[in-house]
């Protein structure tokens, strides 16, 4: 029976931990509810007035003509660029600026609300993906041979050779990490503030053209040709999780902003939804006539699917019941393929990149109406942008802290707990902490087995664990390390040693013979009869 004190301590600790978690959650909830009265804007909606009306029947031109006010009418537009290849689009974090890149090398960045062009360049190289960095002053482009970083004036700033033949780029804003994956199937993480390559992971699953980040925990999700989706962090050489998603290649992956739901599209025509916080359980599977070329979640959980020459938006796709019909759909005739769908943050707008240029659609209820000025401010002035940049850099999270559970920092866990790597609900999958690359973990959780201020106490618990790994020194101060090494080397046999031993044997035999008076010549040999006898 375990001694009483230990269990009491354990139970108390567990109780403390639960209490702390509950209090924190409760406090956060209370704060949220208290502060809600200060939120000024309301979310958008599209609701049918009577039973026979269907939301997916509403066209953009109808919306623009009848229902929307003048500010939103201006947000429905098309940029007709049919010769320069299918386009890829990206919005900045505050939803203010739009970056478009055509497959034939056309690159343009502009403030889409004001219609103000920042830069327009012809790169004369295929552009596979474009990605804004931390604000509208820098962006990254995945070109044919490697990734490049450009200024907002279109000036090339960096050529990043380590990102070879990238297909997809993504930027982790809180860690300042640019991640890319491409033809060689290597996932490269680079810190864009220092330029250091944080990790290069060989996925060994071939070319990868589907990649996205999980905004909640900064884990990269890659979709591969064998139908698996792998989850990566810069701290582990092996994928943290592998999910077998499709019967065929995975064409696109998306994760919702709260990190609960992953949507994957495959060549098998399925769009599947997975619950990331509940053992990667599959939620629903929807059928799409053409494989989904791109998927994207909006801030309020709407899922946009790019398939064929259509862009379709689904509402509550991951809800308790499977949704029978989409929320909205948009068809662009002749614009096969639709390559990219991206929601503009804090706006009810969906940007669609397709073969004939780009389209901007209004999707009521997509964006978060109330932004937080200290996170991303669509109305930031130049001064505010600069201050925000400095603050972002000061608050930059170290890449070592990227883990499946981002809330491990400061939590009460015991020393041997690998909660950071463990996937909730599944059997532990991942490399053990001591097998990872040695980098000092700055955010180690408080050790519950030892005491926080253990200065007065004599022995520390940590030393016992260390000794188990090394061989125990039982010599009580008498044996030296040289003696130990030599003792161990005695039984090691290699060619050189063998030669030396053979020579020693021969010399001993020779000495023996000489002592006994037998010379080498007197030893009888079968060939003696052929020797000329010397007199």
């Amino acid at each position: 029976m375990p001694p009483k004190k230990q269990t009491r301590g354990k139970a108390k600790r567990a109780a403390l931990a639960t209490h702390a978690a509950l209090t924190a959650a409760h406090e956060a909830a209370v704060k949220r509810s208290d502060a809600r009265v200060l939120l000024t804007e309301d979310a958008g909606f599209l609701e049918p007035e009577h039973e026979l009306e269907r939301t997916y029947k509403v066209q953009q031109r109808d919306l623009a003509a009848e229902h929307l006010d003048w500010t939103n009418r201006a947000k429905v537009f098309d940029l007709d660029l049919p010769q320069l290849g299918p386009y890829t689009v990206d919005y900045t974090r505050n939803g203010r600026h739009l970056l478009i890149g055509g497959h034939k090398g056309h690159l343009a960045a502009f403030d889409w609300k004001l219609g103000k062009l920042q830069c327009e360049v012809q790169l004369r190289e295929p552009i596979r993906d474009v990605c804004w960095l931390h604000n509208e002053t820098l962006f990254a482009v995945a070109q044919k041979d490697c990734a490049y970083i450009y200024d907002n004036t279109g000036l090339e700033v960096h050529r990043m050779k380590k990102h070879k033949a990238p297909q997809r780029l993504t930027f982790l804003p809180y860690h300042f990490l640019l991640a890319s994956i491409g033809d060689p199937g290597t996932l490269v993480y680079q810190d864009v503030s220092t330029g250091q390559i944080m990790a290069e992971h060989a996925t060994k699953l071939g070319k990868c053209a589907a990649m996205t980040q999980n905004p909640w925990n900064a884990i990269i999700h890659c979709g591969h040709g064998n139908g698996t989706v792998t989850l990566w962090s810069p701290n582990s050489g092996a994928p943290l999780v592998k999910v077998l998603a499709h019967r065929g290649a995975v064409t696109s992956v998306a994760v919702n902003p709260t990190g609960h739901i992953m949507a994957t599209g495959g060549l098998d025509g399925q769009v599947k939804l997975w619950d990331l916080r509940n053992a990667y359980a599959p939620l629903h599977a929807y059928f799409s006539r053409t494989p989904a070329a791109d998927l994207s979640f909006s801030q309020r959980g709407l899922l946009a699917v790019a398939w064929g020459s259509h862009a379709t938006v689904w509402k509550d796709a991951a809800g308790p019941e499977k949704v029978q019909s989409p929320y909205m759909t948009h068809h662009i005739p002749g614009a096969m393929p639709v390559t990219r769908v991206r929601f503009a943050p804090y706006e009810d707008v969906l940007g669609v990149g397709h073969a004939k240029g780009i389209s901007s659609l209004v999707v009521p209820g997509a964006g978060e109406p109330n932004f937080d000025a200290l996170e991303a401010n669509p109305y930031a002035t130049k001064k505010m942008r600069r201050e925000a940049e400095v603050k972002q850099l000061l608050d930059k999270l170290p890449a070592d802290t990227i883990a499946i559970d981002p809330n491990v920092i400061g939590a009460l866990v015991s020393k041997k707990d690998d909660r950071a790597l463990r996937v909730p609900g599944t059997k532990y999958h991942g490399t053990a902490p001591d097998q990872q690359k040695s980098r000092q973990d700055p955010a180690s959780a408080m050790d519950v087995d030892g005491e926080p201020n253990a200065e007065d106490d004599g022995t520390e618990e940590g030393e016992g664990g260390e000794d188990d790994a090394r061989e125990k020194n039982r010599k009580k101060g008498r044996g030296s390390s040289m003696k130990k090494y030599l003792r161990k080397q005695k039984n090691v046999m290699d060619a050189k040693k063998k030669r030396i031993l053979d020579q020693i044997d021969r010399e001993r035999a020779e000495r023996d013979r000489r002592r006994r008076g037998i010379s080498a010549e007197e030893i009888a040999s079968p060939l003696d009869r052929f020797k000329a006898k010397k007199r």
């Binding site: 502060a35 999270l397 809330n407 920092i409 400061g410 955010a443």
Partner: protein, 450 residues
């Protein structure tokens, strides 16, 4: 079809005129603030580092005394004034704002000035020395009666050398420590009361400024004796393992006092229950010579023979900060300033040094934004100070090598003794008989007497 899309009016989010403030809209939804803990942790690390970078506690050295300064006193109500006495008999009054001497009396005593005390609510002060004399000085000059401040107003002659001196908070009464403790009145040339308990000399004496008739003394026979001016006999006697060098009362908790002991610790006692120390302040590696409480009653400063000054929080057992300089020799007197912002140290080398109580604090007035930023930094560091990364930065202090080695040696020796104790207890038939467990706070107390 009911349709509404997000529409924002520019005016609500931008300013109208240059003189206006920008409106910063906030949304506390956690979905918009990922990595809260991680970002807070990073901020805690940065804040801790910045605090260490800005930690420049040394303000100034008041030099003037030729010989080592052994006695120092602050005025309880005048913030600017400091009195000091040195080994060559010189007494000085300092202005801390201007950081220079306002009055220097070179031959105040013929021996070492052992004790000095301010007379509260007046401009006079007392000094005593090994020349068996207590002198009352006053900076209020009167053309007829007292024209020269360098001439004492009155002199009290005792039979033996005086070791320490302190003045009553309200009444015109002071107590001296020498062979015995004597209570004097300004108008009488002989002591009003003599208290004697024990055989050895009394090394220090201090009045309680809150419970004003109570005072305490420490003597070389390891005793700490509590007295009341209204009684003819001492109240209580407390015996510790080693002798105490100084005693000081907590101004905010009048029943509690701290003693600076020879065994490198400072002990904090409650006079109502002397069987157990309330707290023990460890960290010095040599005898603690003097200590003083902050007027807030939450912190105390100690000066030790190991040439360092340590500031403790009353609730914790280890120092919050340590100050040292190559030029500063043994510390014989330390005082906390009455605005709780500065700490004064008087040492062997003849200098009185002025230090900031909070090493990284800015002197002077902070505007509201600065204050908020400093408070935010403190709050975030406090939230994560138990984590390795932050703790190492917060605790890191450069300490002279001699002290680091001495502390290491002390630790090794104490750990060895503790380990042996544990082993003996583990293998003994009757462990409580062989090695009874005594709490650390009771271990060093020999006994009490009434």
């Amino acid at each position: 079809m009911k349709v509404k899309a997000i529409t924002r009016t520019e005016a609500a989010f931008t300013r109208e005129t240059v003189g206006d403030l920008y409106k910063q809209q906030r949304n506390l939804d956690p979905a918009l603030h990922p990595f809260e803990k991680g970002r807070e942790y990073v901020r805690a690390v940065s804040a801790a580092k910045v605090e260490r970078m800005l930690a420049k506690p040394f303000v100034d050295a008041l030099s003037g005394h030729v010989d080592g300064v052994y006695a120092m006193a602050k005025h309880p109500t005048v913030l600017d004034r400091l009195y000091s006495g040195s080994a060559d008999g010189e007494v000085r009054i300092w202005s801390l704002a201007q950081r220079k001497t306002t009055l220097a009396i070179p031959h105040a005593h013929r021996g070492i000035v052992k004790g000095i005390a301010a007379v509260p609510s007046s401009n006079s002060f007392l000094s005593c020395g090994t020349d068996r004399v207590v002198k009352l000085w006053s900076t209020d000059t009167d053309e007829d009666a007292h024209p020269d401040p360098a001439v004492p107003v009155s002199t009290f002659i005792g039979r033996n050398a005086f070791n320490a001196l302190d003045h009553h908070r309200r009444q015109n009464m002071f107590a001296t420590a020498g062979v015995a403790v004597e209570l004097w009145d300004h108008d009488r040339s002989n002591p009003v009361q003599t208290y004697s308990w024990g055989t050895d000399t009394v090394s220090s004496i201090r009045f309680n400024h809150t419970e004003t008739s109570v005072f305490a003394s420490t003597s070389t026979d390891r005793a700490i004796i509590l007295y009341d001016t209204r009684m003819s006999q001492p109240l209580k006697k407390l015996l510790l393992d080693l002798a105490s060098n100084s005693v000081c009362w907590n101004p905010m908790e009048p029943y509690r006092f701290a003693v600076a002991n020879e065994d490198h610790n400072a002990y904090y006692f409650d006079m109502r229950n002397l069987d157990r120390a309330v707290n023990i302040f460890k960290d010095h590696v040599s005898a603690v010579l003097d200590l003083d409480f902050s007027p807030t009653g939450k912190e105390l400063v100690t000066g030790a023979y190991d040439k360092t000054l340590r500031i403790y929080d009353v609730q914790s057992g280890h120092s919050r900060d340590v100050y040292h300089t190559k030029r500063m020799q043994r510390l014989w007197a330390v005082r906390f300033s009455m605005d709780a912002k500065y700490v004064l140290s008087a040492s062997d080398d003849g200098n009185i040094r002025l230090w900031k109580a909070e090493a990284a604090a800015t002197t002077g007035v902070m505007n509201a934004r600065q204050k908020a930023s400093v408070e935010a930094a403190h709050a975030v560091v406090a939230k994560y100070k138990h984590l390795d990364g932050v703790r190492k930065i917060v605790k890191s202090r450069k300490v002279p090598k001699a002290i680091k080695n001495a502390a290491h040696l002390k630790r090794v020796m104490l750990d060895a003794r503790k380990k042996k104790d544990n082993n003996v207890r583990k293998h003994a038939k009757n462990p409580d008989l062989v090695r009874p467990r005594v709490p650390e706070r009771e271990k060093h107390i020999v006994g009490t007497q009434d």
